[in-house]
Symmetry: C5
Subunit: 100 residues, 5 copies
Amino acid sequence: MQIAKVRGTVVSTQKEPSLRGTKLLLLQFVDEEGHLMPEYEVAADNVGAGVDEWVLVSCGSAARQIPGNEHRPLDAAVVAIIDTVSVENRVIYSKRDQYR
Amino acid sequence: MQIAKVRGTVVSTQKEPSLRGTKLLLLQFVDEEGHLMPEYEVAADNVGAGVDEWVLVSCGSAARQIPGNEHRPLDAAVVAIIDTVSVENRVIYSKRDQYR
Amino acid sequence: MQIAKVRGTVVSTQKEPSLRGTKLLLLQFVDEEGHLMPEYEVAADNVGAGVDEWVLVSCGSAARQIPGNEHRPLDAAVVAIIDTVSVENRVIYSKRDQYR
Amino acid sequence: MQIAKVRGTVVSTQKEPSLRGTKLLLLQFVDEEGHLMPEYEVAADNVGAGVDEWVLVSCGSAARQIPGNEHRPLDAAVVAIIDTVSVENRVIYSKRDQYR
Amino acid sequence: MQIAKVRGTVVSTQKEPSLRGTKLLLLQFVDEEGHLMPEYEVAADNVGAGVDEWVLVSCGSAARQIPGNEHRPLDAAVVAIIDTVSVENRVIYSKRDQYR
């Protein structure tokens, strides 16, 4: 999985019928030091992530292992909202601090 | 999924028989600020996207989750025509404005 | 799918038994303006592509959606020989012109 | 598989229910000479890897070939803790030396 | 598939039980002119490849299409030892010449 920051949303009316009701978030990848990278991904969200939160995104067929997504043409999904990222026992990201 | 702009079409007569009747679009990827990137993808289109429209493209086995594509040797498909892309509540792309 | 030019062939005697009888082509990717890129792929060919022809190559599990390839350890296959590539109604490649 | 060094952990409360009980490690890729690269991956760990150990990480659907992971939306998993890496009969990494 | 040169081996004791008995080779990718590239892959080997030989490596779910690998968490496998690579009727690699 990659670490990404929720940046926004993508809305579409004319789409594969199976995608109706799927919330699509625009995610921007974050490097191992917490900086935003140019790479982004549009991913389905079932966990209720909001703008600026850090999430884990799973790509490929993993996106279809989420109940309800099994037969949707999705190649990326948010699978978790991150509480903390620790590197060698140092916390480099904490959701709580983010919102203090 | 990635955001891409429809640039053109690819036509082929001599091909895998299962690809007969598949419309193939040439898509060019768009970065998170709306600029065209060098990366492109040739993708099957079932949603009726036209040149210059922004679309969402799903890659890998996701392309075969579209009815009719299940057994086609496709690794990319257009899954939605984008209405709007919003980043932090700012609309960075709107199909309506595009065609005003 | 990616657009690639057939550059040559790869021959192997000692291989997975299921690959016997599979023709393997060396393909070099082409960018959206028709220039050769450094990236290449060795792909199975069932459509009869020849050197210098432009083809579409499908990567990943798509390569095993071709009759006969279902259980072969292939991650790339030629799925079509390209007749024309058009960008915004301008033909940037035509097989017919290529061989005039 | 890629060679990676365990750098830390990622913790999440709000996530896909099927991910409960999955330990998530932050891995940083290592190049063929043993240097850390900027690329990282967050991967499920079932083999009990610890910080600073070198591991093998499998990406894509391979991550779901591990008992218990079959239906989890995972695209990366630690599959082995590395004892030695040898290049042309020269040992470039040995777990034993690492901890001497 | 990609063309790679066998550079060495990776040994692991503590691993997914299903990987027992799998020989893991360290492969370094080769570009279309035969030069070693920085990218590498650790791949399962069932065809008996040795150091310095050129091989074809299949990535992703293709690695599990090899008898015995079906349920192993592998994302890369050696599928062939290369005899010759020809580009436009010129042989750029020949195993026989390599060992003369």
